[in-house]
Amino acid sequence: MAEFQVPIGPQHPALKEPISLRMTLDGEVIKDADLKLGYNHRGIEKLAEERNYIQNLYLTERICGICSNSHAMCYCQGVEKLMELEPARRGLFIRTLVAELERIHSHLLWLGIAGHEAGFDTFFMYTWRDREVVMDLLEIISGNRVHYSINTFGGARRDIDDLQKQKILDGMEVLRNRTNYYLNIGVTEPTFIARLSGVGKLTKEQAVSLCAVGPTLRASGVPRDVRKDDPYAVYAELPFEVCTADSCDVLGRAVVRIKELIESYKMCEYLVKNLPVGEIKVKAPRRVKENEVISRYEAPRGENMHYIKSNGTDKPERLKVRAPTLANYAATIEMLKHGFVADIPLIFAAIDPCICCAERSVTLIDSKTGEEKRMFFSQLRKWSIEYYTKKPKLTGVTWPF
């Protein structure tokens, strides 16, 4: 059987962002995968050098729309370290609250996408409906549904009053009930589990050596989380567990995310109930003396890193962003190898790729003839659902709860 290459992208509606994947196939089995990047490259790092620190806060927020708070908060923490500024405690609580609410919205979004890629569209509609609850809460706190702009040097930009607190607590209660319902789907819907189980294997050793991050790493049984290992903001005093799974596949990644949702609800309630009184921000200097810093932050997708170098003026000399999706690419290629073409959408979606963050399409190449075939991601998704409908159902898989 001849091997051939299949290109996917750069425009594929399934993931909403442009990336090009090039798959080398031997029949049904993926032999090798290659990524082509750069369709979403905007030159943010260069742009950051031309703007002052406050302006960059808004620029870094727009690196990504799903994890916007992650980038802004990571950058903000870095600059605060450079300024040797101790942020206001109430401000830190509000920031952390928004960070956790963002994690909830991002994980719910991912669960929906995973359901969609597996051909379970009802699940997609359910999670996205429930996601609106958390979107409303974020809007109540910050005034915007997506770019919250809650971070500023020295604390937070908006305060929370009692009515808002009550709304957040009510919202968490609704979401907790819904998440428990999703957990039950695992027990009552064997087809969904059978589709996710054993897809995109990544062993513990591979995950560590390929430097995977976030839920991808934790689903391979490695309890690594910046919030625990190197606590920032107020995570040192928050009650939460690092969630892991041992199945090393897409099912494990789904489980880790659902568990993290429950942890996040717990954290949000703690943050609201224990919100300290006081100012929400302290005054920050305009200029930053010469120094350099690395700031770490556990984004919904994994560890986010910002390197900032200052030169004594009001503009940074260098800003380097290492987004979690970029760190997961090497692991993704390993996951795709020896898998089936029909699994590409699911495996790729399982790292929760955020192309605008890491700045990402699929090309499948026949490894013997070198013949190329370009495929839209959505066509691939449809084809994969059909492929698995014909296959006999996997039995004996259990939901690990």
Binding site: P10, Q11, H12, P13, A14, K16, E17, P18, G38, Y39, N40, H41, R42, G43, I44, K46, L47, E50, Y58, L59, R62, I63, C64, G65, I66, S68, L109, F124, M125, W128, R129, R131, E132, M135, R145, V146, H147, C354, I355, C356, C357, F376, F377, S378, Q379, K382
Partner: protein, 142 residues
């Protein structure tokens, strides 16, 4: 008579293609949110389509990046006539915060003709619905 039927059906069930040319994902998730139960754009007969060959309306988000320029033109050419482009979000309108970066050409209208603009950073799902509805209303008069 036949023409009127075609026009009626086009207005009642416009199929959209979602095209990201370098956006930050915010507008993109808001467009998807507009299609999900809370907002439900599908009640206007709008259906998200996967390939440009099936689409009537291109919903374009994000500033036009240098790398995406040729692809944007190619996708625009693949859409059958009559076709409409809706630019969604501040970046698609002008480039927004990315304006001036070396890899950004500016708004979508620098590369392909645009029929409707929906402002916002990011747009809200209700604004998307309003924008698409306004475009459809304006077509009714023609």
């Amino acid at each position: 008579m036949f023409e009127r039927l075609i026009r009626w059906s086009r207005l009642k069930s416009p199929w959209i293609l979602h095209l990201n040319s370098g956006a930050c994902n915010a507008c993109d998730i808001e467009i998807v949110a507009a299609l999900t139960p809370r907002f439900d754009l599908e009640r206007f007969g709008v259906l998200l389509k996967a390939t440009p060959r099936h689409a009537d309306i291109i919903i374009a988000t994000g500033p036009a990046t240098r790398q995406m320029k040729d692809r944007l033109i190619r996708i625009y050419e693949q859409v059958p006539e009559p076709k409409f482009v809706v630019a969604v979000g501040s970046c698609a309108l002008s480039g927004d915060v990315y304006r001036g970066a070396y890899n950004i050409l500016g708004g979508i209208d620098q590369v392909i003709p645009v029929d409707a603009y929906i402002p916002g950073c990011p747009v809200r799902p209700d604004t998307v619905i309003n924008g698409v509805y306004t475009l459809l209303k304006s077509l009714e008069k023609k």
